[in-house]
């Protein structure tokens, strides 16, 4: 596989993280999580009615490889808010229980995020295109 293809995927992941205020890289989809850790993380976001974009890493193993290279984080799920890695399932659940997650997602920001907005179905479009093109 060429480096160009790897870089293309890495660029698409970087763009998706930059474009979406809250984005979750997970196994499966919010409606059908394929792993208990992803399911718990989705449940925490949904309990807070936080809108989020979701990317399924399972269709192409390169998504996970490149994501972990960018984030220096070995496991899935990974939640990013405002371009920063917040954490995986353990950290998200700890922050959910302490109330910090609600702050990170809505209060501790510029107020542009509207609770309850139905964004959670959106999958980062750049990555979908890459999967279609390469897959």
């Amino acid at each position: 596989m060429s480096n160009a293809e790897h870089n293309q995927i890495r660029d698409a992941i970087g763009a998706a993280i930059a474009e979406h205020e809250t984005i979750l890289f997970m196994k499966g989809t919010p409606d059908a999580p394929a792993c208990g850790f992803s399911a718990r993380t989705v449940a925490a976001l949904q309990a807070l009615q936080a809108p989020f974009a979701a990317v399924d890493v399972l269709p192409d193993p390169r998504i996970r490889e490149e994501l972990s290279a960018i984030s220096q984080w070995p496991t899935i799920p990974q939640l990013f808010v405002k371009g920063e890695l917040v954490g995986g399932c353990d950290i998200v659940m700890e922050m959910y229980e302490s109330g910090e997650l609600a702050q990170t997602l809505s209060v501790d920001g510029d107020g542009s995020q509207e609770l309850g907005a139905a964004e959670s179905e959106a999958v980062a479009p750049g990555l979908t295109q890459i999967e279609n093109r390469l897959g």
Binding site: W73, P74, T75, L85, G87, G88, D90, E94, M95
Partner: protein, 76 residues
Amino acid sequence: MPQAEEIKQRIEAAIPGASAEVEDWTGGGDHFKATVTAAAFAGRSRIEQHRLVYEIFGTEIGGPIHALSLKTQSPQ
């Protein structure tokens, strides 16, 4: 196959002064749950604390160690 005791020893060897409690979450030798207490965590974000532990295992995480659920804390 890594065992809970081996994972505990590797964490405690790699992070000076750390104490770890590790359990095999499913009994299958690949899903582990660890609580790690270390002075080295003080002043670091949770992300950095977890990275310190993950780094010990490198590519074993996601490989032979399917999951290592972490709780990290500084000593009280």
